[in-house]
């Protein structure tokens, strides 16, 4: 009988003991868990978090299906973390200012990937420091210039060859001093600048195509290789999926956005309209748009087009870098993208 009880004890210890130990360890673990699933299956769970300023917030990030990523918008305190399926990863965040922060998925996880966003409410005693992305200190340039983002801006231009900044630089024409400032370029469309140049007497010996080269040179002067490199990376990670790697609006989700295929449903059941992604290599479309307008579209998103709003995600510097990079699809810059 003694042996029988020993046997029973052994079986129960191995079965109940193991299981109970596992469940207890699970119950005792109080780490806050954030699950990531494809947006159609729920996206972030939870999608709102609270924290206190200057107190660390530890999260365990768990993917329930495919590869996701985690990052905090408009911030470089936390580099993007990959969340591999079945491999939870822990991170600790520290916010020094109260306010509302956005966390978002950084790896494409389907056509609705960009809808995967959540907010962290950071409370603190000193509300004067509040980070409030809905009302930034300086409003974006398009608002200050009063640009209507939704107004048509296509122009009828006859660009026979792709404008080249290198050729533009070689023309050595005395450009009007005001045009050399970055602020001037950002506030004007290439077409406006080209028209102004056309009326400048000093430029009269130059052909129309030469003038476009000069415009390309101006645009190149207004940015830096570093900014273009940043822009190239942001574009590859966030934009190429719809707008295509060559900017031609032919990314892998383009057909679905244009409603040409039902293979990949975009925002099923959400009732959102989508249109074909913009072709950045189309001069008629690009030459009539000012950098401020593109910058504004990135920040706000395209209402009713399927274009996400990136205002809560990118810093202003990043948005400008991306805007600068978009011109490389229209203009030839002396910039060589380096792959990391």
């Amino acid at each position: 009988m003694k042996k029988e009880w020993l046997a029973r004890l052994l079986v129960l210890a191995l079965v109940v003991g193991f299981s109970a130990a596992a469940l207890y360890a699970r119950w005792a673990d109080r780490t806050l868990e954030v699950h990531a699933a494809m947006p159609e299956k729920g996206g972030w769970l939870p999608n709102t978090l609270t924290a206190r300023a200057d107190e660390p917030l530890t999260l365990r990030l768990i993917s329930d299906d495919v590869v996701h990523g985690f990052a905090i918008g408009q911030s470089d305190q936390q580099p993007s973390v990959d969340i591999l399926p079945g491999k939870p990863v822990e991170i600790t965040l520290l916010f020094d200012k109260p306010g509302t922060y956005t966390y978002y998925c950084t790896r494409w996880c389907g056509p609705n990937h960009w809808r995967m966003r959540g907010t962290i409410e950071v409370e603190g005693d000193d509300s004067s420091l509040a980070n409030d992305p809905s009302g930034p200190v300086a409003p974006p340039l398009y608002l200050m210039l009063g640009i209507d983002l939704d107004a048509p801006h296509d122009v009828q231009v006859d660009v026979t060859r792709q404008p080249s900044a290198r050729r533009g630089a070689a023309l050595d024409t005395n450009l009007p001093a005001e045009m050399l400032s970055r602020e001037y370029v950002r506030a004007h469309s290439p077409y406006e600048v080209w028209q102004t140049l056309r009326e400048t007497p000093a430029a009269s010996p130059l052909s129309d195509a030469d003038l476009w080269d000069l415009v390309a040179r101006l645009w190149e002067r207004s940015t830096t290789p570093d900014a273009l490199q940043t822009g190239a990376q942001l574009y590859a990670q966030n934009c190429a999926t719809c707008h295509g790697t060559t900017g031609a609006g032919d990314g892998v989700f383009a057909a679905a956005l244009a409603g040409e295929t039902s293979a990949t449903p975009i925002s099923p059941g959400l009732g959102h309209e989508t249109v074909a992604p913009t072709d950045f290599s189309d001069p008629a479309h690009m030459l009539g748009a000012s950098p401020a307008l593109l910058h504004g579209k990135i920040i706000r998103g395209g209402m009713g087009t399927g274009m996400p709003s990136w205002g809560l995600i990118f810093t202003d510097e990043q948005t400008w870098a991306l805007t600068d990079y978009l011109w490389t699809f229209t203009f030839q810059f002396q910039f060589k993208e380096t792959t990391p």
């Binding site: 009988m1 042996k3 029988e4 020993l6 046997a7 029973r8 052994l10 079986v11 191995l14 079965v15 109940v16 003991g17 193991f18 299981s19 596992a22 469940l23 360890a25 699970r26 673990d29 780490t31 365990r60 768990i62 993917s63 329930d64 299906d65 399926p85 079945g86 491999k87 939870p88 990863v89 822990e90």
Partner: protein
């Protein structure tokens, strides 16, 4: 070929007579089983990082198909944890007979006669095959199925005597039994005359030393491995030390071959057919087929289900039936067609096992590296028990796998051919061997095309 009785090794005899080693192994397996159920129901939804999927369908399956069945036959059944809770309740003891093992099953019923065959196991395995794409990949489904098997086993033990679940219901038990005939190991009696003269038949009825055969088998009458679960109760109950555990030539049960019953013959076709289907669905390059098998209830899935059912229950047995009719036409024998069909189905046993080994080699070596992270983090909760949670996925031996598959399959075909030749010679109709072996060769070529094509 001579046989060698392993029980002549005193240490091994002691180890097998004692209930403790077996109990410890089974208890550990039951602990693992409980963890698998918990992981399936509560752990990560990502199958390839969940203990339930990786340990059951990759590690356990590999151990079963690549080692246990070919080498030990029903060796797994000897330590299988699933019937354990039911047996505890049935016997009122976890270890051994508290008073007298012959009281075992007194008030319990025998399983109804019409179900004392493996048709239920055939159906159960077919059902698993129909839903396999989901069962094999979704932890919660695996969790519920494991729990369900445990509950059915407990229920069967409370209503019916002995290991009714194992013998007549378990979806895995049927094919383990069929293929255990190939094992180089058998439990038999040393001298059948002693058994015939022994009135008490304590090996079947039980005594103070142990229970009557849980598998409802009289060891003195054992001719093939199929229904012997290697549980060693008869070794404990035999009053004459008349039990032998023989090392033997592999496949001795097929030499000379015993005719199969129709349910067993069908099991052979179900296994052969599902090896073909699994190879196509899981290892083939056809994405639409995978999606069809996965999207239960969709029209595509109904197509897959119909195809599977027709192939394994109709087409393969039908073709084989025609094959045996052709054999009959070549060399008439006085045997009803059904009997001839079942008799030659024994020739499919070696090919069936090697088909499953060849199929398993492929996905086991490709995916066994998922085991290392899962051992450290069984539930996908972010644990790292042994420091291997971060180990990445790497297919092993990807260059050697196709050659191994070819060698194994050809070995099976050769073995099946020899078996067919023996059956044909036994019938006195040697020409029968050609259509039967031709059928096997066609199936083998199909498998080769799917696995290494």
């Amino acid at each position: 070929m001579p046989k060698y009785d392993l029980l002549r090794i005193p240490l091994l005899r002691k180890t097998l007579e004692s209930r403790w080693p077996q109990l410890i192994l089974r208890a550990a397996a039951l602990g693992g089983f409980a963890i698998a159920i918990l992981a399936g129901l509560l752990g990560t939804r990502v199958g390839n990082h969940n203990f339930a999927i990786v340990v059951v369908w990759i590690a356990w399956w590999a151990a079963l198909m690549l080692l246990a069945v070919p080498l030990l036959g029903r060796g797994w059944c000897a330590i299988c944890p699933i019937p354990m809770p039911g047996e505890w309740l049935q016997n009122g003891a976890a270890l051994g007979p508290v008073q007298d093992g012959s009281r075992h099953g007194r008030s319990l019923k025998r399983f109804p006669k019409s179900f004392r065959n493996i048709w239920m196991q055939n159906v159960a395995f077919t059902l698993l095959a129909l839903f396999s794409a989901v069962i094999l990949t979704r932890p919660s489904v695996t969790g519920w199925i494991l729990l369900g098997m445990l509950l059915v086993a407990v229920g069967a033990s409370l209503v019916y005597e002995r290991r009714t679940f194992c013998r007549y219901i378990c979806p895995v038990g049927g094919f383990i039994g069929l293929y255990s005939q190939l094992a180089p190991l058998e439990l038999r009696v040393v001298d059948t005359k002693i058994c015939a003269a022994h009135k008490e038949k304590s090996c079947y009825r039980g005594n103070a030393e142990g229970y009557g055969c849980p598998w409802d088998v009289f060891p003195g009458g054992l001719a093939v491995n199929t229904n012997c679960g290697l549980c060693m109760e008869c070794l404990r109950t035999c009053e004459y030390d008349n039990i032998a555990l023989n090392l033997r030539a592999p496949g001795a049960d097929l030499d000379p071959p015993h005719g199969l019953k129709l349910d067993e013959a069908y099991k052979a076709f179900i296994m052969l057919g599902s090896a073909l289907v699994y190879s196509a669905v899981m290892l083939g390059p056809w994405g639409a087929l995978k999606t069809a098998a996965y999207s239960i209830g969709s029209p595509a899935w109904w197509g897959y289900a119909l195809g599977l059912l027709v192939l394994i229950w109709g087409l393969l047995p039908g073709l084989f039936y025609l094959t045996t009719r052709a054999a009959q036409a070549l060399a008439p024998v006085r045997l009803p067609p059904r009997k001839l069909f079942a008799r030659y189905a024994a020739a499919l046993i070696p090919l069936g096992l090697t088909a499953w080994i060849a199929f398993s080699i492929s996905f086991v070596f490709a995916n066994i590296s998922y085991l290392w992270p899962v051992l450290s983090d069984p539930f996908g909760w972010g644990w790292d028990l042994f420091g291997t949670a971060g180990a990445g996925w790497t297919p092993y031996l990807s260059l050697a796998v196709p050659m191994l598959q070819v060698v194994v399959l050809l070995g099976g075909l050769f073995w099946s051919g020899r078996t067919a030749a023996k059956i044909a010679a036994e019938q006195g109709a040697r020409r029968h061997v050609w259509p039967v072996t031709g059928f096997n060769t066609l199936v083998t070529i199909g498998l080769l095309w799917l696995l290494v094509g």
